[in-house]
């Protein structure tokens, strides 16, 4: 369902909950490891026994500052934790500790690429908070089961401005943010396990209007595909509702992947009134410039800086440089390959983004698990560059390398795949082919170009793909006198 409307404009903003890569909870020393038996990681603070007090995890603050630096944002020298009050069984305190008026990270920005165009999305803020537990609605004698292992897991909620104007832009922003939080190593990015969850605010307005329409919030999208579908459906629904003379009411909606539709969670929702106030159990968080500098020293070089480097050092196009910096592991792999290869970087780029990416995708592997190491790949590239093998044979060798059959050189030796560049040998093969294909020869002489390609194909076949294609062309033309 492609969205293309000349009358309406869609306005999108995202709230992203990123689970921080700490060992312990944000306000206690309980583990946050995924997949533990229910409530075995729910300590006195997690289950909110009376009299317990929260103590802030330094690493969570460290992560927040890292994000702030990565999106070029103001880091608040003083920020405050607040209680967000609501009642739900998986929130045993009756409030969530979050940040409200004074968040740790202020206005920042993230640049995305959509359809070859760059666009900067402003990020309003990012604040630290604790996750809630999980409610399990299975059959427990008509009751609901509560697992508080997740309660108190550190989250950084990253809120964008409503700067996106299409589902494609929203997905590009979410992907970029997803890449960035993994790049700076503050989040594992695992969407299935809920480490990176997006709420998307969607509204529409007549084109040219500068007033925002009423928004509906699509909750808990855990894949980019669903995000795209949900936004497209929701946009279409809002436009149709308005064109039919209806009005949009502010609501929270859920996306159903089976039907591809969004639906309001409750028909009449009591307006949320969270009665935020500063949490008296926590003192203001002070972040000194010394702390910020300490964090800055641990920051890796950011994707856009590496991208620029790839364009300058290796002469890559922006598209290639962007693709090769989609994760640190890919960028590192590419650099290691280029270093070991020493030849044309574009050839290395093509193989990393082509055969390697395709194989990893096929086998659902991360690049760190690639059986073909940068050194092995470089060995193959060297033989392509010095014309020992043709491109077609290279693919065959690559498959063998992937299957663990050794280096390119040893495979070439073992299988006798060395390209035939000896002109005498090529001439001999060409002569055989000319004799055996007299009809084709006649066609070529009658001026049919297709027949010439047919002859090239026959020669390649006769040489088992090993003849140097450029030489075959030359010898054939000579022999045929064309």
């Amino acid at each position: 369902m492609a969205f293309n409307n000349t009358k309406w404009e869609v306005v999108i903003g995202l709230e992203t909950h990123t689970q921080l890569k700490t060992k312990s909870k944000i306000f206690s020393g309980a583990s946050i490891a995924f997949g533990a038996e229910p409530n075995t990681q729910a300590c006195v603070v997690s289950i909110a026994l009376p009299g317990v007090l929260p103590v802030l995890n330094k690493e969570a603050v460290h992560c927040a500052v890292k994000l702030g630096l990565a999106i070029n944002a103001q880091i608040a020298p003083r920020s405050v934790f607040a209680r967000k009050n609501y009642f739900y069984p998986d929130l045993p305190k009756g409030y969530q500790i979050s940040q409200f008026e004074l968040p740790v990270v202020g206005m920042g920005e993230l640049t995305i690429q959509v359809g070859g165009e760059e666009k900067t999305i402003r990020i309003t803020r990012a604040h630290l908070e604790e996750d809630a537990g999980k409610s399990l609605h299975g059959d427990f004698h008509g009751m609901t089961g509560i697992d508080l292992n997740r309660a108190g897991t550190p989250l950084l909620e990253i809120v964008s401005e409503p700067d996106m104007r299409s589902a494609a832009e929203a997905v590009a922003y979410a992907k970029k943010l997803h890449e960035l939080v993994q790049w700076i190593d503050i989040c594992d990015g695992n969407m299935q396990e809920g480490s990176f969850r997006c709420d998307v605010n969607v509204s529409v307005r007549p084109k040219g209007s500068d007033k925002l329409g009423t928004r509906r919030e699509i909750k808990n999208l855990n894949s980019f595909k669903f995000m795209q579908q949900a936004i497209e459906y929701e946009t279409q629904w809002q436009i149709e509702t308005l064109e039919d003379g209806g009005t949009i009411h502010q609501a929270t909606v859920l996306f159903n992947p089976d039907t591809g539709e969004t639906r309001a969670m409750r028909s009449k929702e009591e307006a949320n009134d969270y009665r935020y106030f500063p949490d008296p159990d926590l003192l203001p968080l002070e972040i000194t410039s010394a702390f910020i500098e300490q964090v800055r020293a641990t920051m890796p070089e950011l994707p856009h800086a590496i991208q620029a480097k790839f364009e300058q050092t290796y002469g890559l196009a922006a598209y290639d440089a962007t693709a090769l910096t989609s994760s640190r592991a890919i960028a590192d792999y590419f650099v290691a390959t280029c270093t070991a290869f020493g030849g044309e970087a574009k050839l290395a780029a093509n193989w990393v983004m082509g055969s390697i990416a395709a194989k990893l995708n096929e086998e659902n592997k991360a690049i760190a698990e690639s059986p073909v190491s940068p050194e092995l790949l470089a060995g193959l590239l060297k033989r392509i560059a010095d014309n020992t093998i043709s491109g077609k044979i290279a693919k065959e060798i690559f498959e063998a390398m992937w299957a663990g059959e050794g280096s390119a050189d040893s495979i070439i030796d073992k299988k006798g795949l060395k390209q035939i560049s000896d002109s005498g040998a090529i001439e001999a093969i060409v002569e055989q082919v000319l004799v055996a294909n007299a009809a084709m020869v006649a066609e070529v002489k009658a001026g049919k170009e297709k027949a010439f390609n047919g002859l090239v194909g026959q020669v390649m076949k006769a040489s088992k793909g090993k003849a140097n294609p450029a030489q075959v062309n030359e010898v054939l033309k000579n022999k045929l006198g064309i």
């Binding site: 583990s31 409530n39 990681q41 330094k58 003083r78 399990l136 004698h141 609901t144 926590l282 002070e286």
Partner: protein
């Protein structure tokens, strides 16, 4: 700022406190008194003063990111609230705490 009995009931509902009409009236008088006091304080010129967010003028201490808690599920669940209807068993099953059904 004047407060109505309905405001008191709403605040009580948000805090999940049950109040009778008589209690709401009595509470209204007390809360109005407190709001009156706040109004008096608001007359003071505080421009140029940074608001405090805590009564103590200190900053938050940070904890090193180390797992220090061990699994005490059995201990905690042995005192989990009891299910009603005469049952004496703690409301737990398969390690989960049980609560009245939450309707989504």
């Amino acid at each position: 700022m004047s407060l109505s009995s309905a405001d008191v009931k709403r605040v009580a509902h948000l805090a999940r406190i049950e109040v009778s009409d008589a209690e709401a009236e009595a509470t209204l008088a007390k809360l109005s008194g407190i709001l009156g006091m706040i109004e008096q304080m608001q007359a003071v010129d505080t421009s140029g003063i940074t608001p405090m967010s805590h009564a103590q003028d200190l900053v938050q201490r940070l904890r090193e990111d180390v797992v220090t808690e061990t699994n005490q599920r059995e201990l905690f669940q042995s005192i989990a609230p009891l299910i009603g209807n005469g049952s004496t068993e703690p409301a737990t099953e398969n390690g989960l705490y049980l609560v009245p059904k939450v309707i989504e």
